[in-house]
């Protein structure tokens, strides 16, 4: 082998070694590549979570709503979950919470399927398109003593055959109250509803809305999915109405009937 060839081979050998060393230096290790891949996956997952408005469990969503509305955590006294098997029309009835704080109460619905546009009834013949977030919370300042809070979202009745209506929660009732019957009064009209006992001296009432009917949350044939109740009571119907609340203890003994007005906000 000539000297020239020997030197050339040596140089090539050194070049190959240098290239191999550089390749090793610039090629990420398997651990680094794994970490990078996992980082990509986490970022992608957070991205998808964000696109769907960061859904959590219903209770966590309710707690997040409280934080977002600058409220301390309340004591949950009512949680209704009624999946009706309908798609769009029933979405407002998904998960409803009533929470009780020291001198406030909260009512909330939690959906978890992203925001939703609907036509809100402003007056008799006037509607406005509203972009409804997938979760919503109302906070009520409680006066001293018993109070009746409108839940404010259309709620399905107790069984599958009952129609849609409106929930009301009575709080701070006498401890011995076991059952109750609520009567709402609007001039000559009367609505009555039996009560369901909840924790912490609370009761839940449900009044069917005749305008919504047994088929559920009304939607016009011409405008599918548009919640529209030509003869319905409407979301605001119960606010400020007078009520009479008859209560009984566990032996069936009548307790003093409570009267007042449904909270307005």
């Amino acid at each position: 082998m000539s000297r020239w060839n020997e030197l050339t081979q040596k140089a090539e050998g050194r070049g190959r070694k240098l290239l191999r060393r550089l390749r090793k230096l610039w090629t990420p290790t398997r651990g680094q590549r794994t970490a990078f891949n996992l980082l990509l996956v986490v970022l992608g997952a957070v991205w998808v979570w964000g696109v769907y408005a960061y859904p959590l469990t219903p209770e966590q969503t309710f707690r997040r709503l409280e934080r977002q509305n600058f409220l301390e955590p309340s004591q949950i006294i009512c949680h209704q979950k009624r999946d009706l098997g309908w798609s769009e029309e029933a979405r407002l009835t998904r998960s409803i919470y009533v929470g009780l704080g020291e001198d406030w109460a909260v009512t909330a619905y939690v959906d978890g399927r992203g925001s939703y546009t609907y036509w809100k009834q402003i007056s008799d013949n006037s509607y406005s398109m509203v972009n409804l977030p997938d979760s919503w919370l109302n906070a009520w300042a409680l006066p001293p003593g018993p109070a009746l809070i409108p839940v404010g979202f259309p709620v399905r009745g107790w069984n599958k055959d009952s129609g849609m209506g409106w929930g009301l929660a009575a709080v701070r009732l006498p401890e011995e109250a076991e059952t109750g019957e609520l009567t709402l009064i609007r001039e000559e009209e009367r609505w009555s509803a039996p009560g369901e006992k909840l924790d912490n001296g609370a009761m839940y009432f449900w009044c069917q809305d005749p305008g919504i009917g047994p088929r559920g949350y009304g939607s016009s044939k011409n405008l599918p999915g548009r919640p529209y109740w030509p003869d319905g009571l409407g979301i605001e119907w119960a606010k400020g109405l007078s009520y009479e609340l008859a209560l009984w203890d566990k032996n069936g003994g009548a307790l003093p009937t409570l009267t007042g007005q449904v909270l307005e906000g």
Binding site: N37, E66, R67, F70, L71, W104, S126, L137, A141, G265
Partner: protein, 287 residues
């Protein structure tokens, strides 16, 4: 089972048998084969009379016992890192497919990053307010959120009736920025907590509410509207109608649900935004 008769291949199989992660086994085998090839070439170069078979046999002899090397390699090899790497690649692939699928069904792909769609509009409320005219009150922590009033302006407003100036009054506007510690805690566009329970009072004692009127949705005229937002923050644009003309500051107050805050916001002396309202037109819309 077919036996591999090639001694080098047999040696390589035995030496790498303990490596459980298949891609690693293949790579180590290739590396050892290259090393054997180098050694064989060296022997042939040093001893030109040596045949290839002899050189290979000698090279194999110098490599040592395949079983022992195999045990050593199996001991130092960590298969879980290989499995984890493979799993991470599968996850990346699945994530890429999911994201592509998501593109087809959602149209709000970037909304959660924030919105600056109406920047020009909100900024116009405060255009012309000079730094020396206004300084922000200190930020406050409320629950997990950081609240700060980042800008304020005094407006002049006119009600027109049939083009005739009917009434002139002053209003105030300010931006309340709420910053969350995490993106998923960002406050929503509408905040009933603030709308219902935050109040304001100006330096003359006049009090104001932020509760929307019954027609607020029709005229897009809620006293608290969602302004720009980012990944973790949102601006609420507050509008206080008909403040006392001599008011020097407005105090925002919130005390509800176990939380409270208070901001004293100076209102610039100069009116920097002008708006007129055609009540006649609005009434026609309503009726």
């Amino acid at each position: 089972m077919e036996q591999n008769q090639n001694p080098i291949a047999q040696w390589l199989d035995t030496a790498t048998a303990g490596i459980r992660f298949q891609p690693d086994r293949k790579a180590v085998k290739e590396e050892l084969a290259a090393h054997l090839e180098d050694k064989t070439a060296d022997f042939q170069r040093i001893f030109p009379d040596m045949t290839r078979e002899e050189a290979e046999e000698r090279a194999l002899g110098e490599m040592g016992d395949a079983g022992e090397i195999g045990r050593e390699l199996a001991h130092i090899h960590k298969p879980w890192l290989g499995y984890l790497w493979t799993a991470s690649r599968v996850l990346v692939l699945l994530m890429a497919v999911s994201l592509m699928g998501l593109l087809g069904v959602r149209n709000n792909y970037f909304d959660f990053l924030g919105s600056h769609d109406r920047d020009y509009y909100w900024n116009s409320w405060y255009a012309g307010v000079q730094d020396h005219e206004w300084s922000p009150p200190p930020a406050q922590e409320v629950g997990i959120y950081r609240l700060e009033v980042t800008r304020a302006a005094r407006w002049e407003e006119q009600a027109l009736h049939g083009g005739e100036k009917e009434q002139v009054w002053s209003s105030a506007a300010m931006t309340l920025r709420v910053t969350a510690p995490w993106p998923w805690e960002r406050v929503p566009e509408e905040n009933p907590g603030l709308e219902e329970h935050m109040t304001a009072a100006d330096s003359t004692g006049k009090r104001y509410s932020f509760q929307p009127g019954p027609l607020a949705d029709i005229f897009d005229d809620r006293p608290i509207q969602s302004g720009d937002s980012g990944l973790c923050w949102r601006n609420y644009e507050l509008y206080i109608e008909n403040i006392s003309p001599e008011a020097e500051w407005v105090r925002l107050e919130y005390d509800f649900g176990g939380q409270s805050f208070s901001f004293r916001v100076d209102i610039p002396e100069r009116c920097t935004y002008f708006r007129n309202m055609e009540y006649q037109t609005q009434w026609e819309v309503m009726s």
